[in-house]
Symmetry: C2
Subunit: 404 residues, 2 copies
């Protein structure tokens, strides 16, 4: 498949995070021509936090990870991820596959199974051939290296058109703390693919409980503010591992929070930029709402509207559809206080199109690849931003024709 | 535009309803080659009930109709509808246009303006050229005829590919009561088009208050159970007028309720069958939910899922996406109690694919034009049914390319 036109120029040169080693291998879970399993080893004492899909039909590995979060954190830990099969909706066999993989990783690495986390991404409802994975676990353990993150980013891809990575560093108390993360995702749920997986590593020192709180807060501001098609995966998993190797305690550090937020937002935007069939990257900024929650409602209503998304695909400055999406959102809104802007162009205000707005200016703006739609509700101070992509023939082609 | 492949063979021969007269005319509001305004005159004493969009950005005529509902019902009444322009998001000018039209209809017919209801359907945000309508009102009043309902159904169309009508009669106390209705709509909101309009007429005798209650209840079971693209119009209006000419009091009549329900469901299904780009008509039946509300949530989650809808378009029996849509719905669900059927074919049960299910059987079923997806949650007795269509390249073409 062609690389998304919205992809970054290249995969970034990610920092090595002390205390984290990676290995990838071709296990033939489904794909035969590429690496499809990654193993991550985390040094003893690493705090591991996670945020998972709220789907009522979440996968066996998600349920297993959730049950293990917040346990003892003194020993080493591991994360094993396969692509090609999501091990979702596979009944009791799904849980047996997770147990078999954790047992194999434990035997090969000496890590306790309650510190071994797995994820699977791929087709829903087909039994995971876990023997293909367990057969490779010793090779994986022997191949662990601190420089293997790029291969890992590729091993977890399904229909992604490019691997996704981001990193940043911050100086706290004159010492450097580093963060590096990888993600996969191409639609809230890629075609049949139980989709978004994110793994972030840092050498910061922080307790599991504090890391968990921070991760949940920042997820609400980043990964929970993106939408490709409004569908929710059975396998979405986001984990952050803090090895503490820098020796810098980042508890309540604004600098660390801001830096981690930046890495997460960068990865979240890359997921949108790899949205199925996407040709436009759209930021929807909502202000003046009765509350932040209302702003988010309006933002998601606009970002999820098929009519708004198809208009963007057609480079049509169709602001009437934005009015419609505001109206249906369920948020408090008043037609006569609504202001709509495309970038810096004032489109509508006071309940009608702006007298200075011209269709030609709107149409010219829509030809850009990155767009900003700004809506002010004029009610109070509620704020929210959501990121999305357009809805194109490419999306239909990918999703109508994928399995058959 | 080609007529939808899901359209009925022909427009039905609708009953004449005593006390109701229709006229249609070409006023050139936007279209130049067709009738675009309809006027309906209702006999003195007709009870008029209405259900309207809950959009926070609803149009000027919707706001005007809502303010007039439930008023005195002794005099004659009128309904005037134009297509081509929705008079939505048009500021104070929108209200002036409604007033000008009501004044003109009042002058031409002698009907009090608080018994004159209007609707406009078409582009959002452009000033309604109401002079073109008021110039034709005398001609409309002179052309009123009891047999004009088919022309009226055509005059209110925008992007509809066929006019929509339905009728039924019921014998109560040995007397016949008749119902006839028309609708327009082609997507929750058609391209730029403030969309669904429904007008139902009956010679039954019923108070305005009772008719209003009945209409609201039946709307929840019919028009509020259909979805094409999850978008909500700024102009959706459904009105029912009961002239009482049959002399049959239908207050609390189960027979009348059932018959009206049938006419409304028929019209609602026709709207789905004219969904933009639709090639499949899909009934989503949900049972076993914790409540009827939960069943509806699951039904709408499936019916609105772009991944489910594109799979249907591709004739792909992709039941994994149905599992996903159940999971994201927010309704109470348990993976291991879920049963999924395509028509009579058992697809999944007990948390996994059914041992008897074959992909070939599912694929063969998906080739039908009318499909039933049945989901049982196995929790309690909650029931709900939702109707939708597939999401195709046709939808993208219509909506990405419409205005430009």
């Amino acid at each position: 498949m062609a690389i998304s036109p919205l992809a970054p120029a290249s995969f970034p040169d990610l920092f090595v995070i002390e205390g984290v080693r990676f290995a990838s291998i071709a296990a033939g879970v489904k794909y035969n021509d590429r690496q499809d399993v990654m193993l991550v080893e985390l040094a003893a004492g690493t705090a591991v936090a996670g945020v998972f899909t709220r789907s009522a039909t979440r996968s066996a590995p998600v349920l297993d990870c959730q049950s293990k979060m917040g346990g003892a954190a003194d020993g080493r830990a591991a994360i094993l991820v396969n692509s090609g099969n999501s091990n979702a909706f596979t009944g009791a066999a799904g849980e047996r596959s997770v147990a078999a993989i954790c047992d194999a990783v434990g035997a090969a690495t000496g890590i306790q199974t309650d510190r071994i986390f797995t994820a699977s991404t791929g087709v829903i409802g087909e039994r995971l051939p876990h023997d293909r994975i367990t057969a490779k676990v010793i090779d994986l353990a022997e191949g662990l290296t601190s420089s293997g993150i790029k291969d890992a980013a590729q091993a977890i891809m399904t229909t992604d058109t490019f691997p996704k990575g981001a990193c940043a560093e911050v100086v706290i108390d004159e010492k450097t703390v580093r963060i590096a993360g990888i993600a996969k995702g191409s639609g809230m749920i890629a075609p049949d693919m139980a989709t978004m997986l994110v793994y972030i590593f840092t050498d910061a020192k922080i307790s599991q409980a504090d890391l968990q709180t921070l991760l949940a807060t920042l997820t609400d501001q980043t990964f929970n503010c993106i939408t490709v098609d409004s569908d929710t995966s059975t396998s979405d998993s986001l984990m952050c591992a803090a090895t503490g190797a820098s020796g810098v305690d980042v508890t309540n550090s604004a600098g660390f929070t801001q830096t981690l937020h930046g890495v997460m937002l960068n990865l979240a935007h890359q997921v949108v930029r790899d949205g199925e069939g996407a040709t436009k990257f759209v930021e929807v900024r909502v202000s003046g709402a009765a509350s932040d929650a209302d702003a988010r409602k309006v933002g998601l209503s606009i970002a999820n509207s098929p009519l708004v998304k198809t208009a963007i695909a057609g480079e049509d400055p169709n602001w009437g559809r934005i009015v419609m999406a505001v109206g249906k959102s369920g948020a408090q809104a008043d037609r006569d206080r609504l202001t709509i802007r495309f970038g810096d162009i004032l489109v509508a205000e006071n309940g009608w199109v702006s007298p200075d707005y011209t269709e030609a200016a709107g149409a010219a703006y829509m030809k850009q690849q990155d767009l900003i739609i700004a809506v002010d509700l004029g009610i109070a101070g509620g704020l929210g931003t959501v990121w999305t992509c357009d809805l194109t023939h490419g999306y239909i082609t990918i999703n109508a024709d994928y399995r058959s």
